[in-house]
């Protein structure tokens, strides 16, 4: 059997997203893929042993952002960043935009529940009290509000990723 093409993988991820499945593990010849909606999922042993090249640190990011594989024991750590994550992204803020920052460390969720449409998308208009995401700490989900009136121009974090205190989550272009 031949290796799956990029289109095959894309279709697979789309099908997974459209499904009710929590996890998908697939092996075709030497090709293996693991998808999960749960950022705290148990990663299969083979993923721990073999690291795909160029994926040092952090979760491999799905194209669509809906499916993640979490960091787990055995995966290499990100290089220590002396400056906090918040500072590193400071330069990336588009001109005239402000950042909505994480109030504390936690898991970032764009939607109120798995499979539901996200709170906001790029281009959406928000009010200061518009809920834009959830931050989870030990099953406690705290909504984060935009804090400013304007247009969402950028979503900085993939759904289900860990964010640190002060990290930019969204970029918003304020409007009067």
């Amino acid at each position: 059997m031949k290796e799956p093409t990029a289109d095959d993988i894309k279709t697979l991820i789309e099908n997974f997203e459209g499904s009710q499945w929590k996890e998908l593990s697939l092996q075709v010849g030497d090709f293996r893929i693991f998808l999960s909606r749960d950022p705290n999922c148990i990663v299969p042993g083979w993923l721990k042993e073999s690291q795909p090249a160029g994926q040092h640190g952090g979760a491999p990011r799905g194209e669509t952002g809906a499916s993640q594989v979490t960091r787990s024991v055995g995966q290499p750590l990100q290089e220590t960043v002396a400056a906090p994550a918040a500072a590193a992204t400071e330069a990336d803020i588009p001109a005239g935009a402000v950042a909505v920052r994480a109030p504390n460390l936690g898991i970032f969720y764009r939607a109120p529940k798995p499979g539901a449409p996200p709170y906001v998308a790029a281009g959406d208009q928000v009010e200061p009290d518009t809920e834009v995401c959830l931050i989870e700490v030990m099953k406690l989900f705290t909504p984060v509000t935009a804090g400013v009136r304007g247009e969402v121009v950028n979503i900085c974090i993939e759904d289900g990723e860990m964010v640190e205190h002060g990290q930019a989550l969204f970029h918003i272009k304020p409007k009067a």
Partner: protein, 459 residues
Amino acid sequence: MGISRLFIANRGEIAVRIIRAAKSLGIESVIGVSSADTGSLGARIADRCVVLGPPDAARSYLSEKLIVQAAVATGCDAIHPGYGFLSERPALALLCEEHDIAFVGPRPGTIEALGDKLSARKIAEAAGVPLVPGTTALASVEEACAAAATIGYPVVIKATAGGGGRGMFLADDAATLRKLFNKAAEEARNAFGNGSLYIERFVRSARHVEVQVFGDGEGKVIHFGERDCSVQRRYQKLIEEAPCTILPAEIRKQLHAAALKLTADLHYRNAGTVEFLYDIDRREFYFIEVNARIQVEHPVSELTSRRDIVAMQLLLAGGNPLALEQHDIVLHGHGLECRINAEDPANDFHPCPGRISRWDMPDGDFIRVDTFCERDTVVPPYYDSMIAKLIVYGNDRGEALERMMSALGRLRIDGIKTNIALQRFLVGHPDFAANAITTGWLERTGLPAYLSKHNSTRE
């Protein structure tokens, strides 16, 4: 077997100490810090640093949920709580168990049982470990006098509902006890809404002596000898040493045995310290409490035993059996530690956070400095004021004192106020050299002497 990635839920020098121990064992380290500590030494030497929350400890270092969430999300399989912060909160140990993360410390039930003063006293009593002789609630002044005759004067009258030194009266004899008893009851009623009193023997000349223990969690406990931490101000230790050289050999044996019995009964797991009050005049010791964690002053025991207690903690928490037997712990020489704090002794020990402009540490054999500071470090104002521990080893107490004096003389910190001059004064004081001090010595003698010298040299 073993921890592969450790989460450090602490800051300051102990975070650095734990990361170094992890590195020595090939364990990856992830430190969780507040936004005030992102540039700290611990954050830089850890393999990874994550920012938990703002400087406010309640929203960072004191949130067990944030800590465990961070540990899970970064793929850690163990958490070391250090000392202070969450180290003795059963909630963190419990949350670790629920998430299959090894807690580097005792079981949550042990922490809970020892954390409650009454329950800890019951545990000590059941183990046959002596407590300060005293009574339960007394019905009358007659009952109090009868009890005091057995206990021996002086006694201290305390309110059963009291605490923190309030409503306490000292009685040197029966006449004073009679006179004070009703007054104390009256005051207790007014202050606590409950006039119930009890009495306890008052130890006039006491030393703070504590035993470092290490248990495998299955009933085997070994000790690393005792430490003397009698130089204290408001229950804050300033100088610690090992061993306590004034202890008669027979008492020392009993002290170690008492600490082992108490902790073995609990099937104590990991490192801990059993604290005692030693009555110098009566040559008796009484149980105070158990610190169910690693302590600030653990290095003096490491020097005299030549064992890395923090590495032992990580090995045990990683599932390795405790390979050492008591006879493997061979104590030799003398360890001495001075806490270097960013505070001004001349100004009621007011904390002095700020940027360190000069940081000259004494270099040499038999000197160890545990710290998170260096030149240009900013000591944040949010946390405790300890910035370094200067630790020396000598073949005996005299040699350790000499080395400490020499080391303190070469220690130079500018940019912030510190207690270095006070430490030099204390270590050089004849009472300290003669080891003729008590837990009240610093506040009654050492400090007033230092302040009068300090004020006169300034004029």
